[in-house]
């Protein structure tokens, strides 16, 4: 993995003339986990899509890119709310999808190690429909790790999981993605309070940074300072327009 760059986006975005988000400025520091927290429909995912080089349908008046000025093209991995596993491939096949799509030989030894890291040893030959929702999202995380990109974009990847699976996935992701530049779009204040080195609150009014408590992440979900911070984020979400 090459050195993790910072990310930035500034400007206004529209789709077919309809405004998506106003003039905003998003700064994602290098090698840190940044949560972009906000209600649905505020344009969080559009920010992430623009950074992933996707949003073809979006017109951005402004700039988006990496802090080092080099193109982001081959430095980004994406993990979405839906696990996007291919049902006709087994776990190993899904984890090594990137290499196959680039015409490279799949690194099966590394795939085995990554599958072990996400706790799916013994499931490598199973197809997605034989796995639970939590296990499927672990495969998606393994596929993301396998890409070994310095920038990881997470678009509400844990929001469809039950509370326990979600907390376990948050711990796993925080550990395994440490050192990379992570932009994590979420609408869950509790999640942002556990995971973010930085938390950016995005509302119709724009983006404000809400500094989280000091200390290592993932934060203990029932620690008083985590809960207090989660409450503060929730209050800010409630007063926002």
């Amino acid at each position: 993995m090459t050195a993790a760059p910072a990310l930035h986006l500034s400007g206004c975005a529209t789709i077919d003339g309809a405004p998506i988000f106003g003039p905003v400025s998003v700064e994602v520091p290098r090698g840190r986990w940044t949560c972009l927290l906000g209600p649905s429909g505020v344009g969080k995912s559009t920010v992430l899509r623009l950074m992933a080089g996707l949003g073809d349908e979006v017109t951005l008046e402004g700039t988006v890119g990496a802090g080092d000025g080099a193109p982001l093209g081959a430095r980004v991995a994406l993990m979405a709310q839906s696990d996007l596993l291919l049902p006709w491939l087994d776990v190993t096949g899904n984890v090594t999808l990137g290499a196959r799509l680039r015409g490279q030989p799949p690194q099966l030894d590394r795939a085995r190690a990554v599958i072990e890291q996400v706790g799916l040893t013994g499931h490598a030959a199973k197809r997605p429909d034989a796995l639970s929702g939590g296990q499927r999202q672990r495969v998606a995380l393994a596929r993301t790790l396998m890409e070994d990109r310095p920038v990881v974009l997470l678009d509400e990847p844990f929001s469809a999981l039950d509370a326990r699976s979600r907390a376990l996935m948050q711990d796993l992701a925080a550990t395994l993605l440490a050192g990379r530049t992570v932009l994590h779009v979420t609408h869950d204040a509790a999640e942002a309070a556990r995971l973010g080195h930085n938390v950016l609150l995005m509302t119709q009014g724009g983006i404000t940074s809400v500094p989280p408590p000091d200390g290592p992440t993932p934060r203990q979900f029932d620690a008083p300072e985590t809960l207090e911070y989660q409450g503060r984020l929730m209050r800010l979400l409630m007063v926002a327009q």
Binding site: A52, L54, A80, L84, L86, G98, R100, L101
Partner: protein
């Protein structure tokens, strides 16, 4: 098991109804023979019917195989190339405005009285359903998969081969299921227009000689063959996409 009982029940009911119509209306056997007579003829003429059934089955299977292969390739070409799409799609749709049945005499003229003109009819009649349902499925790949592939820096050719084609296989399968039912129609039309062998030929011949029991026996065999073809393609498709 319940399905088998239900199908057997429906068949029995249909046969009883058939016999009842023949008996009550006192229909002569050259207008509508009863099921008993048809089954007797089926048995006594089994060698003749089998000989012609094998010819029709060959035509159908060849037409089905070639049409499916051609449809598969065409759909991929259309999905891969926007230029091919804008050029070929209007032609494809226009070709459907021409009734395939109307082409049968011309095909016989061009390809002769033998196997080839019937294979061509079966092929033509299934080509559009196979191409169209596979192509539609190729164009409806879930966008999340395509975006993931893009972020992974995949080339369009590899996206097509590794994601869009496998994701569209259920669409290809439904095209094949339709084809299994249409292909025999094509072969029979071809035989009606001009042939010296095949179940369609036999039916016309029997009809002309007022051997309606033989005509019905041949029709029955054709229906059973079509159902078997449909069932085996259906089973094959299910097995392929499940395992």
């Amino acid at each position: 098991m319940m399905a088998v009982v239900r199908i057997a029940g429906v068949t029995l009911l249909a046969l009883l109804g058939w016999q009842a119509v023949v008996t009550l209306a006192e229909l002569p056997r050259f207008i509508l023979p009863g099921p008993g007579l048809v089954f007797t003829t089926l048995w006594t003429s089994r060698a003749l019917i089998t000989e012609h059934a094998l010819v029709t089955a060959t035509e159908v299977l060849l037409g089905l195989g070639l049409g499916a292969a051609l449809g598969f390739a065409s759909a991929i070409l259309l999905a891969a190339s926007p230029a091919a799409r804008s050029l070929l799609r209007p032609i494809l749709v226009f070709s459907q405005a021409v009734p395939v049945f109307a082409l049968a005499p011309i095909l016989t003229l061009w390809l002769g009285y033998g196997l080839l003109s019937k294979v061509a009819m079966a092929l033509l009649i299934i080509y559009f359903p196979v191409t169209s349902s596979f192509f539609d499925a190729l164009m409806r790949t879930p966008p999340g998969w395509l975006e993931l592939a893009r972020v992974m820096n995949a080339t369009p050719a590899r996206i097509l081969w590794r994601i869009r084609v496998p994701a569209a296989m259920p669409g290809f399968a439904s095209g094949l299921r339709l084809a299994a039912v249409y292909a025999p129609i094509g072969a029979i039309i071809g035989e009606w227009v001009g042939a010296s062998r095949g179940l369609g030929y036999l039916m016309l011949l029997a009809n002309g000689r007022a051997k309606i029991d033989l005509m019905f026996a041949a029709l029955l065999v054709l229906a059973v063959l079509t159902l078997l073809l449909h069932a085996s393609i259906d089973a094959a498709c299910r097995r392929l996409w499940k395992s």
